[in-house]
């Protein structure tokens, strides 16, 4: 059984009279410890499916199994617990609490998580030990995103979900971030799912899921994923 299974998932938004179908029967699997990438054009429905997978929203139809639990049936409270214990989320715009230092932002997550990792170790693993007492405003975009990733990792999540983590970064910094994510999947055996526009990232992934027009167009298995440095773009 795959670690993550999305089965025939639908999500619709009703805007007055017309209905927008954001996810139209999406199905895919991701195995434990895999580094998966979701690719697709803007408005395809990537964020929608990732949000549902992250327990921030519920599908209208279909099932989502994470570790054999069907989270599509979860209540709000159960979803919160699921987010708290099992999921790490990284946003395009970092969403750090501006009033907390880098370390404190990470602590914010580790404080509530049952099997949290040591904050300082996590910080070291993202290479931010020097900047631990800096406020977000004092950090660069890449550093902020690393803090955000560290915050997600500190919870020791089973599932790390990233919605365009490199979208606001330059190429080099983006690479750095991706390396970090790939490493995380390898080292911690964490299942990582990343949304991106950038098709060049695809070779890095163990599995690439193409979404187009609210449907899964193709799923490509990559038996030998390359490292970031091997990729040219």
């Amino acid at each position: 059984m795959s670690y993550v299974r999305v089965v025939d998932e639908f999500k619709r938004y009703t805007m007055g009279e017309n209905t927008i179908v954001a996810n139209n029967g999406i199905s895919f699997d991701v195995e434990q410890g895999q580094f998966a990438v979701i690719l697709g054009p803007s408005g395809a429905g990537k964020s929608t499916v990732l949000n549902i997978l992250g327990g921030m929203d519920s599908p209208d139809e279909g099932h989502i199994y994470v570790e054999n639990n069907d989270i599509s049936q979860y209540s709000k409270k159960q979803l919160t617990t699921y987010r708290r214990d099992d999921v790490g989320f990284v946003f395009q715009f970092y969403n750090l609490v501006p009033n907390l230092t880098a370390r404190e932002n990470i602590e914010l997550a580790s404080q509530i998580s049952p099997d949290a990792l040591d904050v300082d170790e996590v910080m070291e693993s993202v290479g931010l030990t020097d900047r631990r007492d800096n406020f977000p405003a004092q950090l660069s975009g890449g550093e902020q995103q690393r803090v955000a990733i560290a915050r997600a990792l500190a919870k020791n999540p089973k599932l790390l979900l990233c919605d365009e983590p490199t979208g606001a970064l330059d190429i080099e910094t983006g690479k750095q971030i991706l390396r970090l994510l790939q490493k995380t999947a390898r080292d911690f055996n964490t299942t990582v799912i990343v949304i991106t526009h950038n098709g060049q990232i695809a070779p890095m992934a163990d599995r690439v899921i193409y979404i187009h027009d609210a449907k899964v167009k193709e799923i490509v298995e990559n038996p030998r994923p390359r490292s970031v440095d091997e990729i040219e773009w």
Binding site: N51, M56, Q92
Partner: protein, 1148 residues
């Protein structure tokens, strides 16, 4: 045009999409404006109400009194004045009233009167001499009803009620209010009773028998269009007063001469009266002598009549004797005659009896003869019949015998046998003979012989019988001859009887006649006796009359003797009095005039003070209120504009002018402010003054509040309201619009995190847990809003504290005054003119009562304290008989220094508020005015704690050294453990004593007092409710801003997996701390506000308890926490529904 509609649409959408914000601005402005305008308007409204009421009732502008009353002269003087609108002379007099001997001012009322018109609250005004309308105050209405009969009594032992009024009994026909007395509890001073008027009563002016008016009332033309509280009015009235006083005094001198002349005339009249009295006395003596002579004559006449009657008795007695004798003789004769008649009758009856007996014998003889005679005749007849039968049978047998036997048929034979069966001859019957014949045994001849012998024996029998019959007949004839003889003698006897009957009849007739004669004699005799009895009883009556006459005479004589002494003494006294009066006339001074204007009436001034105090309160409270409202409005508007930077930038980038962009925000702020302000004004101007005035109506007898609109307050509040919203909008917009659209369109950088001060204190920082650190950091991140929240909450908490504090202060007065300061329970006002026995009786009542712990005689008087710039104050003076004991009854301790005083040593002690008002301290002099208008200056020996009223405690030594009069104690303080039953009992016992005028109980004063304190409580409740409302809106608004500003942060932690309550607490932890800080700051601020408010709200004759109870803080803290919790619950609901995806989507 098109652009405009788009703009309005935008504003409308803005309003509807942010209802909470729009309405919170609206409500803040409403509360601020309403509270400000309402409280500001209350004072002026109250004054206007009073002024309108006085105009309507035509209250005097000037009131003139004099110790000689006011006569035509004074009236004429004023009547001439051009400036006077109306002038009226009235009558009044202070009297004791009803069973409780209340002191009331009896006021004369005439339908024609225009001034000081009464307001009829119930029933009507008096229309007949013995009707009265009473004061519509609690003292009266709690005891009397329409239709009650009431009595009034002279307030002065030396004067008669009839000198003043013609009636002493009245029927209550109505309850009225006078514009002269507007408070519910005070009616002013008087010289009778306790020195304090309890109420007033209105009777017809005609009831007064006074020669002169007691009061002149004046209204001036100039006052018509002025408020009585205006300075021009006050000055003008003072001018009039100052001009009239000397003019009146001139008239007074003339009146004195007149009074002297009148008095001399009266003295002359008095002398004549005395002469008359003397004459009367001698007349009475004369009358008595005449009466005595008459009595003597009567006695003689009586004796004569007695003798006559004696004679008459003897005569009657004699005649009675005669009569009795006559009756006896008559009776005896009658008996004799009757006996004779009876004897004769007896003889006659005897002979009759004999005759009758003879006759009976003869009869019997005759009857004896009858029987044998009849027998004989019967026998003869029977023998004759037998003989005939036998002879006939003989013939038939002869015929038979002629026929041979054998020729005869058996039938014939049988017939013969049957027919002769009964014919018998000496033992043999014919039939058997015939049988024998037929049978042939008997011959014919035998038969014929038998028959023939029978015939012969029969014939001889018959003749024998005839001889006997003849003999009997002879005997009978003899007897009958004898019978006839006897009957003849019987007739003779009958004749004798008849003669006897006649004799009897004669006797009876004779008797009737005699009896008639005797009856006549009796009647005459009876009449004679009756006459005699009559005479006897008449005599008795005459005797009684005479005795009565004698007694009357003696009594008259005694009375006369007694009265003569009195009368002679009276006459002597009167003569003395007349002499004294003449002497006094020489020392008589010209009348003194007392002129008072409305502002000399303490009640009216007190009301003005109250109204002005309202205005003072109206300044400080609404300012705090308004300040908070304005600050929060400012924060709200700032936030709103900041939220819409992007929209503004976009519009600007699209080429809209700054003006167009601003318009939306101005209109938004303007509409919220204007609506709020208009609603606030409408509510404030109507609701608040009414609520507050209603409270004051417990104290004052005034008509319902006259509401008014005040441009000044309207404009001020509008200005402040618009300033706080529009100017903020302008300021924030100006700053934003100066920047380029590009910068505007980028979100304003979230507030940068910074190290805070606390972090530098490493040990503390280290000890804090993570969430505490976060909270601490956040608290200091939004300093402006933190400050705003703390200020807002502290302001509200302060208002609430002040509200409760004011309530506590007011309630504290009662406890402190009656619990700590005054330790006695009752003051008994005593009549010093009472007789010594009456005093003795009273002393016994008090001494015998075991419940009374202590008592102290005092001299009590109400003094006036006057000083320019201070409202005149009533001061109660106590001069205790035993100054060393006073501290058992009243606490003599300074409130701040806790120094205790001793009246013996310190001489004159005054109460704290009096000292404060008149700015005197220990060692200073204080001058007061007595009821007789004398000045009394004391050196203050001590200032003591006291909360209600003003008191001066003076030692008798000092008092006597200053006053020429001898000190007469007129009251007694009683101390006992309070119980309702005991007080009722005591009041019962005291009401019987003539020494006691009235008793006032502290408990009932306490009750009255608590009632009047109610009024302030309502103001306090208004305050607390408004402050609480404000606290709620402030908290809601600021929290709402905080949440919307940090919605991204909140969404982030939601995504991180914070549970709903953790999310709420994440932000609310800050709010709790801010609330706590606000409460603490509010405590400090509230304490200051409380002191300030107490200072302005205090009344002249009352000192508030300035300490603030911890409960006030507690209530304020609890209320604020409650609101904070309510807001938290509302926020919790809101946060639960935040869409985190939406919030995190863009880089806003």
């Amino acid at each position: 045009m098109q652009k405009k509609t788009a703009l309005y649409k935008m504003i409308w959408r803005e309003i509807t999409s942010s209802k909470a914000r729009f309405f919170s601005i609206l409500f803040l402005i409403l509360l601020g404006v309403g509270f400000f305008a309402g409280l500001q308007a209350t004072g002026p409204n109250m004054l206007k109400t009073a002024d309108d009421y006085f105009d309507q009732q035509n209250l005097y502008d000037l009131h003139i009194q004099s110790n000689y009353g006011l006569d035509e002269e004074e009236y004429a003087l004023l009547d001439d004045k051009e400036e006077i609108e109306a002038l009226e002379g009235h009558y009044s007099s202070d009297v004791l009233f009803g069973e409780d001997r209340l002191v009331i001012k009896l006021i004369g009322y005439d339908e024609e009167n225009q001034l000081n018109q009464f307001r009829v609250d119930e029933g009507r005004l008096p229309e007949r001499p013995n009707e009265i309308a009473l004061d519509y105050s609690d003292v009266i209405t709690s005891q009397y009803e329409l239709g009650d009969e009431v009595m009034i009594y002279s307030g002065n032992k030396d004067s008669n009620l009839s000198d003043t009024v013609s009636e002493s009994t009245y029927t209550v026909v109505g309850f009225v209010t006078s514009p002269r007395f507007i408070t519910n509890d005070s009616r002013g001073q008087t010289t009778i009773g306790r020195g304090q008027l309890d109420a007033f009563g209105v009777v017809q002016a005609d009831v007064f028998t006074l020669d002169v008016y007691t009061d002149l009332f004046v209204t001036f033309k100039a006052s018509a269009n002025q408020s009585m509280y205006s300075d021009t009015y006050i000055d003008q009235m003072k001018d009039y007063k100052d001009t009239y006083e000397p003019a009146l005094e001139d008239v007074g001198t003339g009146r004195l001469d007149q009074i002297k002349a009148d008095a001399e005339e009266e003295v002359e009249e008095g002398r004549t009266e005395i002469e008359e009295a003397k004459q009367e006395l001698s007349d009475a003596e004369q009358e008595l002598t005449e009466a005595k002579t008459e009595l003597e004559t009567g006695k003689e006449e009586l004796e004569l009549a007695e003798a006559d009657l004696e004679e008459a008795f003897l005569e009657l007695d004699r005649e009675e004797q005669n009569y009795r004798e006559g009756v006896d003789t008559f009776e005896q004769e009658m008996i004799k005659a009757k006996k004779q008649l009876r004897d004769q009758e007896e003889t006659l009856e005897e002979s009759e009896q004999q005759v009758q007996d003879g006759l009976s014998e003869i009869e019997a003889g005759l009857n004896q003869l009858n029987e044998p005679f009849v027998d004989l005749v019967t026998q003869e007849t029977a023998l004759l019949d037998q003989r005939d039968q036998i002879r006939q049978l003989n013939q038939q047998l002869t015929a038979l015998f002629q026929t041979p036997t054998d020729q005869l048929t058996d039938g014939m034979k049988q017939d013969w046998i049957d027919e002769t069966a009964e014919v018998t001859f000496n033992e043999t019957s014919l039939s058997s003979l015939l049988q024998g014949y037929f049978n042939g045994t008997v011959t014919q001849e035998e038969i014929k012989t038998v028959i023939a012998s029978t015939d012969a024996s029969l014939t001889s029998g018959i003749s024998e019988l005839r001889t006997n019959i003849n003999e009997i007949n002879t005997q009978r004839a003899e007897l009958e001859t004898q019978q006839q003889e006897l009957e003849g003698s019987l007739q003779e006897i009958e004749a004798g009887k008849e003669a006897l009957e006649d004799a009897r009849t004669d006797l009876n007739n004779q008797r009737t006649e005699t009896e008639q004669e005797l009856a006549d004699g009796r009647r005459q005799l009876d009449e004679g006796w009756a006459e005699y009895d009559q005479g006897l009883s008449e005599l008795e009556e005459a005797r009684v009359d005479l005795a009565q006459g004698q007694a009357d005479y003696e009594e008259g004589l005694q009375t006369f003797n007694e009265e003569r002494q009195d009368a002679e003494r009276d006459i002597e006294e009167a003569e003395q009095e007349l002499d004294d009066a003449l002497e006094e006339l020489d020392t008589l001074e010209a009348p003194t005039y007392y002129l008072t204007v409305r502002h000399d009436n303490g009640q009216l001034v007190e009301f003005e003070d109250n109204a002005e105090r309202m205005s003072d309160l109206a300044t400080i409270f609404p300012v705090v209120f308004f300040l908070i409202a304005a600050l929060v409005t400012l924060t709200t508007v700032t936030r709103m504009i900041e939220e819409q930077r992007i929209e503004m930038g976009t519009l600007k980038a699209l080429g809209y002018t700054d003006r167009d962009i601003q318009k939306k925000y101005y209109l938004y702020a303007l509409s919220a402010t204007l609506f709020g302000a208009i609603l606030g004004l409408a509510l404030g101007y109507t609701l608040l003054p009414k609520v507050i005035f209603n409270a004051y109506q417990i104290l004052y007898n005034l008509p319902p509040l006259a509401l008014d609109f005040y441009w000044s307050f309207t404009l001020i509040s509008l200005a402040v309201a618009l300033f706080s919203s529009l100017v903020t909008a302008w300021y924030v917009l100006r700053k934003d619009l100066k920047t380029t659209p590009a910068i505007l369109m980028r979100p304003k950088a979230p507030k940068v995190g910074k190290r805070i001060l606390v972090e530098r204190i490493t040990p503390l920082w280290r000890r804090m847990n993570f969430m505490q650190k976060v909270t601490a950091r956040n608290l200091f991140r939004y300093k402006q809003r933190m400050l705003m929240t703390v200020i807002g909450i502290s302001g509200c908490a302060a208002l609430i504290i002040t509200g409760f504090g004011l309530k506590g202060a007011v309630e504290g007065i009662v406890d402190l005054q009656f619990g700590r300061v005054m330790n006695y329970e009752a003051v008994v006002a005593l009549d010093s003119a009472a007789s010594s026995t009456e005093k003795e009786v009273y002393r016994d009542i008090i001494a015998d009562n075991e419940t009374i712990e202590a008592s102290l005689m005092v001299y009590q008087e109400t003094l006036d304290a006057n000083k320019s710039g201070v409202t005149p104050q009533d001061v109660t003076m106590f001069v205790p008989e035993n100054p060393a004991e006073l501290d058992q009854f009243v606490q003599l301790k300074n409130r701040t220094s806790a120094e205790t005083f001793d009246l013996e040593k310190d001489g004159a002690i005054i109460t704290e508020k009096l000292a404060t008002l008149f700015e005197v301290e220990k060692g200073d002099d204080l001058t007061l005015t007595t009821a007789d208008d004398d000045a009394l200056t004391v050196t203050v020996g001590g200032v003591v704690e006291n909360y209600a009223g003003h008191y001066l405690y003076l030692s008798p030594d000092i008092y006597e050294s200053m006053q020429s009069t001898v000190l007469e104690y007129n009251a007694e303080l009683l101390k006992y453990p309070y119980s309702e039953d005991f007080e009722a009992e005591l009041s019962d016992a005291l009401s019987d004593s003539d020494y006691v005028i009235t008793t006032s109980y502290n408990q009932s004063m306490l009750n009255l007092f608590e009632d009047s304190m109610e009024s302030l409580n309502i103001v306090v409740v208004v305050l607390i409710v408004s402050a609480a409302g404000l606290a709620f809106i402030v908290l809601y608004n600021l929290t709402n801003i905080n949440v919307s500003e940090r919605i991204r942060e909140l969404s982030t932690i939601k995504v991180l997996g914070f549970y709903d309550n953790e999310v709420t607490m994440y932000i609310y932890r800050e709010n709790i701390i801010l609330t706590l800080m606000g409460i603490v700051a509010g405590g400090l601020f509230g304490r200051l506000l409380h002191i300030f408010v107490l200072d302005t709200a205090s009344m002249d004759n009352m000192m508030f308890n300035p300490s603030l109870s911890w409960t006030s803080y507690l209530y304020a803290a609890i209320l604020t926490m409650v609101f904070s919790t309510m807001v938290m619950l509302m926020m919790h609901r809101k946060l639960k529904h935040v869409d985190m995806i939406e919030a995190l989507k863009s880089n806003e």
